[in-house]
């Protein structure tokens, strides 16, 4: 779960965000503000992962506000003006929501934040945060034995734990995993190097599991192991 605050000079806009955040476990809306000054002093006291920022506010624009907060804080801009969306792109915003927006569109933006957050987290912490239904599930990277592709889903096989199904592509999964610890060996398999017992005749043996090596992956595997 990532935590967030929202800033908008109009109360009804904050009510929409409160409502939508309440419908998902992906994000916890800690506080909402109609005054930038109050939001800023809150941010100085509490660490926050994600900001929902209205762009058009009287004292300062959301863009100006964002420039005054701690770098690295994620932001989703909300605006009633389509003109602004383009302007803010160089700010590395996660997304822009044009008011009024649907719950589906909101979830899409929050998903992007969750994914970005996951990327950043696993770099330093050794965990993956994966969206499963409406929750964020924390998975210890070291516990992953191998990952199996099944149509639109991936089945993550874990050490000493039940496996987990997640809706994402092999490619997206690979991008979230540390390169040195995982290798794709087949169209449908990603394997943790540390869990390999041995490799024989184009088959990789894990404890209680044999994984075939795909033809197009042979070369890559060979270069990895010849190092």
């Amino acid at each position: 779960m990532i935590n967030a605050i929202a800033l908008d000079d109009e109360l009804p806009a904050l009510k929409v965000l409160e409502n939508f955040c309440g419908k998902t476990d992906l994000v916890r809306l800690e506080a909402t503000f109609i005054r930038p000054g109050e939001a800023l002093s809150y941010l100085r006291q509490f660490p926050i992962d994600l900001l929902f920022l209205d762009i058009n506010m009287p004292s300062q624009t959301g863009i100006e506000f964002y420039q005054s907060v701690k770098p690295g804080t994620m932001v989703i801009f909300t605006t009633a003006y389509s003109e602004y969306a383009v302007e803010g792109f160089n700010l590395n915003a996660i997304d822009y929501l044009l008011k009024p927006f649907t719950f589906g569109r909101f979830l899409q933006a929050v998903d992007k934040a969750v994914e970005y957050f996951g990327h950043r987290q696993n770099k330093d912490a050794g965990y993956l945060f994966l969206r499963i239904d409406y929750s964020l599930v924390k998975i210890e990277i070291a516990a992953i034995r191998f990952i199996e592709g099944m149509d639109d889903y991936l089945k993550i096989h874990l050490q000493d734990k039940p496996s987990v199904m997640v809706r994402m592509t092999m490619k997206a999964m690979l991008s979230q995993l540390p390169d040195r610890q995982f290798i794709r060996v087949h169209r449908s398999y990603i394997i943790a190097l540390s869990h390999i017992l041995n490799i024989r005749n184009k088959t990789i043996y894990l404890e209680g599991k044999e994984v075939p090596i795909g033809i197009s992956y042979e070369k890559d595997i060979l270069t990895r192991f010849s190092k």
Partner: protein, 222 residues
């Protein structure tokens, strides 16, 4: 078809996109909360759009329609900003004939239903040039709304016989101008229209003070 297209262009020139979409978002919030205010807010916005589409091409319109627009506009602004912006809005009428006076007042709470005009309007028979009062009220919201500062907006419409007095006062606050700040009618344009339409029948006094902005307009109505 072509005619309504032209009117639609007219509409976008007069209802600022900023106001329109933020009002829609406020109504959206009310709908999500299943608030009883939602239907009312939709009617208010509809009435504003209908007024701009159907009436503003005319030379003269019933005063109650212009005032209806103002009521809806203010009610929607209150929905957007709630109690964070102190607002006092009053319509007073002491009709020249024997009709009883009908004081109306909104102060920070939305209790009045603006969609139903009284059957016997105190403004009956009075006519006004369309959009002649509205720009001054829009101006007060455009430059007078900031919850971090000492915002205060006062609007008084006083009708006495065929004489109308409009007083609009707003405290000056910081407002970062949105991109479409040049849309809407503007005060300059309205001054010219007053000179054209009410050459000898209006007194306009605008005071641009250090802390507040005051507009006092007296109109002799038809």
């Amino acid at each position: 078809m072509q005619l309504s297209e032209a009117r639609l262009r007219h509409l976008t020139a007069q209802i600022e996109p900023n106001f329109l979409f933020n009002s829609l978002n406020s109504i959206y919030a009310l709908a999500i909360e299943k608030s009883d205010q939602a239907p009312e807010a939709i009617v208010q916005l509809s009435e504003m759009m209908r007024y701009v589409l159907n009436e503003t091409g005319k030379e003269w319109v019933p005063l109650e329609k212009e005032i209806g627009y103002i009521r809806s506009y203010i009610a929607l602004q209150q929905t957007r900003f709630g109690s964070s912006i102190p607002l006092n809005f009053q319509i007073r009428s002491a009709a020249g004939d024997s009709k009883p006076s009908l004081p109306e007042s909104i102060s920070n709470s939305l209790s009045e239903t603006s969609s139903n005009f009284p059957i016997e309007s105190p403004f009956e028979g009075l006519k006004v040039a369309p959009l002649i009062l509205i720009p001054f009220i829009e101006n007060a919201f455009k430059h007078g709304v900031n919850a971090e500062e000492n915002s205060n907006i006062r609007i008084l419409i006083d009708i006495n016989g065929s004489s109308l007095h409009l007083l609009v006062v707003n405290n000056k606050v910081t407002v970062k101008q949105p991109v479409d700040s040049h849309s809407g009618l503007g005060i300059g344009n309205t001054k010219r229209r007053l000179q054209l339409l009410y050459p000898r029948d209006h007194v306009l006094d605008i005071r641009d003070n250090a802390h507040d902005f005051q507009v006092s307009l007296t109109l002799k109505l038809l």
